[in-house]
Amino acid sequence: MGHYQRPPDLAEALRLLDASTFTILAGGTDFYPARVGRVIGEDVLDVTAISALGGISEEADHWRIGPLTTWSQLLATKLPPCFDGYKQAAREVGGVQIQNTGTLGGNLCNASPAADGTPNLLALDAVVELQSARQLRRIPVARFVLGNRQTLRDNDEIITGILVPKLRPSARSCFRKLGARKYLVISIVMVAAVIEEDHDGRVTAARIAVGSCSAVPQRLATLESALKGANRQRLAAIVRPEHLATLTPITDVRGSAEYRRDGALEMLKRTLAEFA
């Protein structure tokens, strides 16, 4: 049995992390499943008593999402339409029990290729704020997640916020998850899209991310360029297989690599069709 700490505030947490190495524990929904039938021997820093890490707030040019915000809290918060996709992901994470305890920061830091939140954060151009006793730094989510279960977070750092830049009020979003059953399902493919358009319905900015088709969920830059300037009525028709060239899907128990490629293409079309 290792040491367990549950500091009441951020300063104490950072002091502890500066002095020693801990596994950080938030909602526990990834922590415990990785330890079935095993004695928990590591030192654990439970951050859930740090109230400053919770809640969603509106700042001048961005939204600040406290990393301890649960999926259910995200769903219950009134937010502009650009968050609809993220909320859709919240509805499809695990079951309601997981949504009630799993946190947005934990989902990001756990860095699963199938993390339901990450494609949305990529499509929202979100930035991770990390704090340690040494420094405060901000890193775009796109750079933060390095690989399967790997991030840029240093051992002495805590995520203190997920920052989402404010978009035009017209910005809309959509998320779709492809899985082999309805509830409690890990995705085979995920697509998240955020589209901004002008008064004529022409796309001024498109940010499209695909999850579960590479070690790190990815934005599709060439597709985003192709969508720019297009009428929102016909976005689905623009998607081409070559737009998915950067994906590196694998074959696993949930589906073949070929299926993931086909599925991603179709899911992209269907997701973009939602903007018509």
Partner: protein, 898 residues
């Protein structure tokens, strides 16, 4: 700030302020169960995958296995024990009871808590709201339908009576208020813990090095090895005890038991893989395709070609028949390992009482457990007592012993109670599975559309040990034709050893695999004959007076044609709504089944005893294990009917081998038919005894008012009679062994005394761009002989459909890859279709009040009906189960549909 492991954590549980002194990272589920004794919260996976441990934290549902105890500090927790107040069930619990929404009951606490969360904010939820709110709880028994109805407040009537009544489950209240004790819920306070160390390799040899030092370093009481097991082999068949309790120097599958650690819980759990005193030498495993090549090493010396057993049936002249055939069809089918995925992992404890051993564990077969434990220990059967706990689902997977022998040996050696609870991955890696199959079949019809011949061959991957492999190999040929009249048949099967998990019993014993083949052929032949697929089946359906492939002439109760007739209106409607173009297509399929009830050509007896107490209550000594299917209730309904009294006068003892007669296994859909008949006969014999004592006529009506019994004009004060050692003043006994005959060298004979029949219709939508199949509706018509309790029969059908749907679309166990409930998928609330059940009652003369079995028949037609619907929608025949999205899309692409 919590820092040390011994801080006390204060919280509210069910309204009471409590303090728990356990380490802060203790799962809340463990804290509630082990710290507070609130074992109503169940643990199915410890990974948030099943939701059985769902409790409310500050009113919101959470998985108690994922909440650190420290995070519950100052919070308010509600468990299932908090729902019933003053021992009275809440309205929600009563609704569950009325609907039959609890079967085995292991998921029920989680279901109730998730529903409570929903109902606190939405008093009249929609179906969609119920499914969304409860989608995080898995149920393996019910198919969810009755749970949804109960939560939505759909009206349901409770009935009080014997045969035919929708009597509430007699063990229902305990399953709903959290007091029911399952395998992990109870053990003596001084029990040591046992943990089995299992092979991570499918094939390897090993040496044990430094066992004693390991034991001492870890503070263990005992490290059990193969050398500690008196007779180190178990298995279903008396002559094939090929599975070691603990492997000796060689392992044959990933999950094979190697050694067992016994000691205090911390000591047992703290040993890591690196510490273990095992030195491995890994070898190349043998799998089905390689198992029979000459170079493949035999798994067992007795079987140099790795063939455990062959099944064979021959009737008529198949070769000659092909020449007369107007139409033929052929198919090759492949199916995967399927995991039972009962939500209760195997668990129990053993204690030594002098020169006897007692094993208290979840099980489907107390009598067989007693034989296995006695054999392994070298004890007389009388020295072994099996006391079944409630069993949280079985489906065939708890027929083989799991924890029983190893616990018994440990408790015997140490003369201390010893307990064991499998983890979910351990349960999945070690337990038996449905046999994967590779089947080839060919069928022919004559010009008039009558079936003429069938040739069937099937290889079944029986894994590392025999288990029920011979049963599968022998049952499949009998059923290979499907429930049709086929004059010329050959059927050959092989059960082949591989370095895979042992394949054993799973709801249907190979018949569900075979049904995929014969039902595909029926569709193909119907098309070739230019006939409607349902009518083609109706025309060829086997009926009373017809002969089966084994030459058995069915004497009665062959209700397939009635089942098909009942589907006709649904079939016509569904055919109208087909959509065969576009991205989302709709189709309808139909499939039939038959299933011999009980053992194949083997003696299969059950006995029941019923006593009358001086206080006017009846005690049923019921040896049949209720694993959720409802035999506790059924046996009382039947016995009460035979006695002519109310079931409410009954108490019962289930399964305790010291106190009950042997009622055989809960398998082969036999309990209602075989044990039910014994219960009827026991009731009749006690009734005769009572009437004789009272000099009353045979048709006299019995009325009982406390200790006075009245019949006709006579009265009898029961307190004036002498009680026997069991405390009864009068007893009745009944036994029944269904008549069968051995099968000859060509598989001819009478393998079963009766058969269940069914036809199911499936409507499905196929998303041809993504390979997704959504089953929207299933109409299930089942000939059950007589529905003793229609609520329970419907529950069996719903649950069978759910498992059949999983088998068809999503379930595939892959050793080392899907040893948990998030990689191994079973259907959730949102995957179930609308289900319509139709009960056909073509009475079976041998059965109790005409009843026969339903457990396995419910599952068998579902997968072929779904595959038929997919074909109807897309023109593409699925030949490999499960039809996962990637396989469906690949098949559609190959056919040019997608």
């Amino acid at each position: 700030m919590l820092q040390s492991r011994d801080d006390t954590i204060a919280l509210q549980v069910n309204g009471d302020a409590v303090k728990i002194a356990m380490p802060p990272l203790t799962r809340l589920a463990d804290a509630l169960r082990d710290g507070l004794g609130l074992t109503g919260t169940k643990i199915g996976c410890n990974a948030g995958d099943c939701g059985a441990c769902t409790v409310l934290m500050d009113g919101r549902q959470v998985c108690a296995c994922l909440v650190p105890l420290a995070q519950a500090q100052g919070r308010s927790i509600t468990t299932v024990e908090g729902l019933a107040r003053n021992r009275k069930l809440s309205a929600l619990q009563k609704a569950f009871l009325r609907h039959g929404a609890a079967q085995c009951g292991i998921c029920t606490p989680g279901m109730l808590m998730a529903a409570s969360d929903l109902l606190s904010s939405e008093a009249k939820p929609s179906r969609k709201q119920v499914e969304d709110a409860m989608g995080g709880v898995l149920c393996r028994c019910t198919g969810y339908a009755k749970i949804v109805d109960a939560v939505m407040g759909v009206a349901a009537r409770a009935e009080y009576g014997g045969v035919g009544a929708r009597l509430e489950r007699v063990d229902g209240a305990a399953k709903l208020n959290g007091t029911e004790k399952f395998g992990s819920d109870d053990a003596p306070a001084d029990a040591l813990w046992l943990r089995v160390i299992r092979s991570p390799y499918p094939r390897a040899s090993f040496k044990l090095v430094g066992v004693e030092a390991f034991r001492d370093n870890h503070g263990l009481d005992l490290v059990m090895t193969a050398d500690d097991i008196p007779n180190n082999g178990f298995g279903i068949y008396p002559t094939i005890k090929d599975q070691p309790v603990l492997a000796k120097g060689h392992v044959r599958y990933r999950g094979d038991a190697v050694i067992a650690l016994v000691g205090p819980r911390d000591a047992v759990e703290s040993a890591t893989d690196d510490d273990l005193p095992i030195r491995w030498q890994v070898q190349d495993p043998v799998y089905l395709s390689a198992a029979q090549t000459e170079r493949a090493p035999p798994l067992h010396e007795k079987h140099p070609d790795n063939v455990l057993v062959r099944g064979w049936l021959k009737k008529g002249d198949v070769e000659g028949a092909w020449d007369q055939a107007a139409h033929t069809a052929e198919i090759a089918v492949e199916t995967a390992f399927v995991e039972h995925a009962y939500i209760e992992p195997e668990a129990g404890y053993a204690r030594r009482i002098g020169d006897r051993i007692e094993v208290i564990a979840c099980t489907q077969a107390p009598g067989m457990d007693r034989e296995e434990v006695a054999h392994v220990m070298g004890l007389a059967r009388e020295q072994v007592r099996i006391i079944p706990t409630a069993t949280g689902g079985g489906f065939g997977g708890k027929l083989d012993v799991s924890v029983q022998p190893v616990l018994a040996v440990a408790a015997w050696m140490l003369n201390r109670p010893v307990r064991c609870i499998y983890t979910r991955p351990e349960s999945m890696m070690s337990s038996t599975k449905r046999h994967p199959s590779r089947i080839k079949a060919k069928m022919a019809a004559d010009a008039s559309g009558r079936l003429l011949a069938m040739e069937f061959s099937g290889d079944f991957d029986t894994g590392a040990y025999a288990s029920w492999g011979p049963t599968v190999a022998n049952r499949v040929p009998v059923h290979a034709t499907g429930p049709y009249v086929v004059p010329h048949v050959t059927a050959a099967t092989r059960a082949i050893y591989t370095n895979n998990p042992p394949s054993g019993a799973f709801r249907g014993f190979g018949v569900p695999q075979a049904a995929i083949a014969h039902e595909a052929l029926m569709d193909m032949l119907a098309d070739k004959c230019g006939e409607d697929r349902l009518e083609f089946r109706w025309k060829n359906a086997i009926r009373a007076g017809d002969a089966t492939a084994t030459g058995q002439v069915l004497h009665a109760s062959a209700g397939l044609a009635q089942c098909l007739a009942a589907l006709r209106p649904h079939w016509r409607d569904a055919m109208q709504s087909r959509v065969t173009t576009g991205s989302h297509r709709r189709g309808v399929g139909v499939a039939c089944m038959w299933y011999g009830i009980g053992n194949t050509s083997l003696s299969n007896p059950s006995a029941m005893r019923v006593g009358l107490r001086p206080n006017g209550r009846f005690m049923l000594y019921n040896g049949a294990a209720d694993i959720g299917q409802g035999s506790n209730t059924i046996m009382i309904q039947i016995c009460a009917e035979a006695l002519g009294v109310s079931p409410s006068l009954f108490d019962y003892i289930m399964g305790d081998t010291d106190l009950t007669e042997d009622a055989g296994k809960t398998s082969a859909s036999r309990q209602t038919f075989v044990s039910g008949k014994a219960a009827e006969l026991a009731g009749r014999s006690l009734r005769a005894e009572i009437l004789k004592r009272m000099n009353a006529g045979e048709d006299a009506r019995l009325t009982i008012e406390s200790n006075v019994i009245k019949a006709g004009g006579a009265t009898l004060n029961l307190t004036t009679l002498e009680t026997d050692p069991r405390g009864n003043v009068l007893t009745g006994f009944g036994s029944f062994d269904p008549p069968t005959s051995p099968l000859d060298a060509n598989g001819q004979g009478i393998p079963y005394s009766c058969y269940g029949f069914a036809a199911q219709l499936a409507e499905a939508e196929v998303d041809v761009k993504l390979g997704l199949v959504r089953v929207t509706r299933i109409v299930a018509a089942h000939d059950v002989g007589k529905a003793i309790n229609p609520n329970l029969v419907e529950g069996q059908i719903h649950g069978g459909i759910a498992q059949g749907l999983g088998f068809a679309l999503m379930e595939e166990y892959i050793p080392g890859r899907t040893e948990n409930l998030h990689d191994y998928l079973i259907p959730t609330f949102g995957d179930m279709p609308e289900m319509v059940t139709i009960m056909i009652e073509d009475a079976e003369p041998l059965g109790p009040y005409g009843a026969k079995g339903i457990g396995e028949p419910a599952l068998i037609p579902t997968a072929p009906a779904i595959f038929s619907a997919i074909e109807c929608a897309t023109g593409v025949r699925i030949t490999r189960a499960p039809a996962t999205p990637d396989r469906v899309l690949a098949a559609l692409k190959a056919a040019g549909v997608a």
